[in-house]
């Protein structure tokens, strides 16, 4: 309904360069629903977050007669966030998490994609589906599932390792982060594998033919020809993975029901969530959210810059 009204209002807008009838206004009409939603639920919320982060609710008076008013406090919420040890710990934790999880997961996805693209694997489609299927399992369910597999009372994995004399504790303070990393690797390797594999499929086969005639083996071809050809896909997956790890929320949130070693401030996202909901401090939470956004942005730019440099060398 709102879409229809928006569409008529934009189509009435006059435009120069007449190329006949609807063609001038058509793109605006077509884009109207997206633009309305984009402004309403992306631009406005970001603006609101920025406004929140620059203000603070100040309480005056005591007891029942107290009143609160919102005052502009500049960057004080940001300095509060940046001097908050839990927030910084959480940030450090997800950066460490990403530094391990992203390379491991992408390496696995890449190896699988290369294997599926080579002649080495039979039943390619069956194996591909098995690897991709966990992606269809919602993160919350994946975390619940692995949560059971980590609990000594239920876990067949702990049983099996116990029978050969290893006694793992997947939920200890030092290991739980990597147990969470395992859940995310299990969930997202498939989709990254499929994206890389799709890119491999678009490489013209004649190139491989030429390499073979030149005497290059499978592994050499994979390293020297296939990987450079699909570099853009690898960079894209790396970029999305980095963004994903910084936003880590669902899995550790669910893990809280099986271990007390995941605090409610375990990751920046969880910290923001608890600050705004339980803590009721929207202003500080917004400042943290924007800081997290800036870190994400900076890292994404760094990933693309690094990839551009490599692209230039090639």
């Amino acid at each position: 309904m709102s879409v229809a009204t928006a569409a008529t209002s934009t189509s009435a807008r006059p435009r120069r360069r007449s190329r006949g009838g609807g063609q001038r206004s058509a793109p605006y009409v077509f884009l109207a629903p997206f633009i309305v939603l984009f402004v309403g639920f992306l631009i406005v919320p970001i603006g609101l977050a920025v406004w929140n982060s620059l203000h603070t609710v100040q309480r005056s008076g005591l007891g029942f007669g107290s009143s609160s008013e919102t005052a502009f406090t500049g960057l004080s919420n940001y300095t509060d966030a940046l001097t908050n040890p839990e927030f910084l710990d959480g940030l450090g934790r997800v950066l460490l998490f990403g530094a391990v999880q992203v390379p491991v997961m992408l390496a696995l996805a890449l190896v699988l994609a290369l294997l599926f693209d080579s002649a080495a694997v039979k039943f390619t489609r069956f194996f591909q589906l098995s690897v991709f299927l966990p992606y269809a399992v919602p993160a919350v369910v994946a975390a619940l599932l692995w949560g059971f597999l980590y609990q000594p009372q239920v876990s067949p994995i702990v049983d099996a390792l116990g029978s050969v004399g290893i006694d793992p504790d997947f939920l200890a303070p030092g290991t739980v982060l990597w147990s969470i990393a395992n859940v995310t690797i299990w969930s997202v390797t498939g989709v990254n594998m499929i994206i890389i594999f799709s890119a491999l499929q678009t490489v013209p086969r004649e190139i491989y033919e030429a390499a073979r005639i030149d005497g290059a083996g499978e592994i050499r071809t994979a390293l020297r020809i296939k990987m450079p050809m699909i570099a853009p896909a690898i960079i894209l997956t790396a970029l999305f993975s980095v963004i994903g790890t910084l936003q880590l929320f669902n899995e550790p949130m669910v893990m809280r029901s099986v271990t007390s070693n995941v605090s409610s401030e375990y990751t920046p996202n969880m910290m923001i969530f608890s600050t705004t909901t339980q803590g009721g401090n929207i202003n500080l939470g917004s400042a943290m959210a924007i800081l997290l956004g800036l870190v994400t942005f900076a890292l994404s730019v760094a990933v693309s810059a690094a990839s551009n440099r490599r692209g230039g060398k090639r």
Partner: protein, 307 residues
């Protein structure tokens, strides 16, 4: 049983589809040792990715006491049906209400998300207009915005317009789907030749008609791929409903199950119900996923051209 059926189907598909790739593959002839190493690796991979799913199926058939006392990877007394009936009756059948809600959020949501993405992607790919670069930049840039930056202010906004704790409050904000728009753009650019559009224009067709009868059809495979990603994405939705909803009967199944898992510490019965519920909640997504296999395979390859 399902596995062999899948294999069968995929084998059929393979012979019909990726011919080009296959003939090349047979020409490469890898060494026997290489094949052995790869096979061992692939079995390991299969176990890693499928074992949790297998465990879930086995665990769903067990009573609460068997869940804790019998070996995890083999069946004990078959209690699947009694588990399912307890799942259906617990708390007045709230679980099915959650499933229904998830269907509304993901079903309605993904169809609308796909429509918006395809129409916008088409417009960006086919037309040259003022502001196009700005929209494209905004689409790409917004993919970098973390969900939390948006979640809290979105909630505030929803409270302001009175949509918190409603279906619309979860549904509408999730319709902003820049990734889908980008995919739509990529597919439209690689699948729609401009000559066809010009020809249709000369025949006097309106722009909307051209989109409906030519553009949207040429984008068919890509559309299904977007739909699949949108469906999985919204079925996965957790943080926003967690913030926006406080009425149990409006929650999607992810939020509901998480709640059960947290209460299971005090109510052991909920352990089993969480397990069975998790299994049931995954079935629709897996069905959609496997059923649309043919589309996402070719859809992603088409998109791969521009990635």
């Amino acid at each position: 049983m399902t596995m062999s059926a899948l294999e069968q189907r995929s084998a059929n598909r393979r012979s019909a589809r990726v011919r080009r790739g296959d003939t090349e593959r047979h020409g490469e002839r890898p060494s026997r040792v290489g094949v052995a190493v790869v096979t061992v690796f692939m079995v390991g991979v299969l176990i890693y990715f499928m074992l949790p799913v297998y465990w879930l199926v086995v665990a769903s058939t067990k009573s609460t006491s068997d869940l804790f006392s019998t070996p995890g990877l083999w069946f004990a007394d078959l209690n699947l049906f009694s588990n399912l009936s307890r799942l259906s009756t617990y708390d007045g059948g709230i679980f099915w209400r959650w499933m229904f809600n998830s269907f509304i959020y993901s079903g309605v949501g993904s169809v609308l998300m796909t429509f918006v993405s395809v129409v916008s992607g088409y417009a960006l790919a086919v037309y040259r207009f003022r502001g196009r670069a700005v929209v494209l930049g905004a689409v790409l840039g917004s993919m970098l915005v973390p969900q939390t930056v948006l979640a809290q202010p979105t909630y505030q906004l929803l409270v302001e317009i009175g949509l918190n704790n409603t279906y619309a409050g979860v549904l509408i904000p999730s319709l902003v789907y820049p990734f889908g728009v980008m995919l739509g753009y990529v597919y439209a650019r690689s699948s729609i030749p401009t000559e066809i559009l010009e020809a249709a224009r000369l025949d006097g067709a309106s722009e909307w008609r051209i989109f409906l009868s030519i553009g949207s059809r040429l984008m068919g495979t890509g559309t299904v791929t977007i739909l699949l990603f949108a469906f999985i994405g919204s079925w996965n939705n957790f943080m926003l409903p967690l913030l926006v909803l406080n009425d149990q009967s409006l929650m999607p199944v992810t939020v509901g199950l998480n709640g059960w898992s947290q209460t299971a510490i005090t109510v052991p019965e909920l352990q089993t119900l969480t397990v069975v519920g998790a299994l049931v909640s995954v079935i629709p997504v897996v069905l959609v996923f496997v059923g649309l296999q043919r589309y996402w395979r070719s859809g992603l390859t088409a998109g791969g051209v521009r990635f």
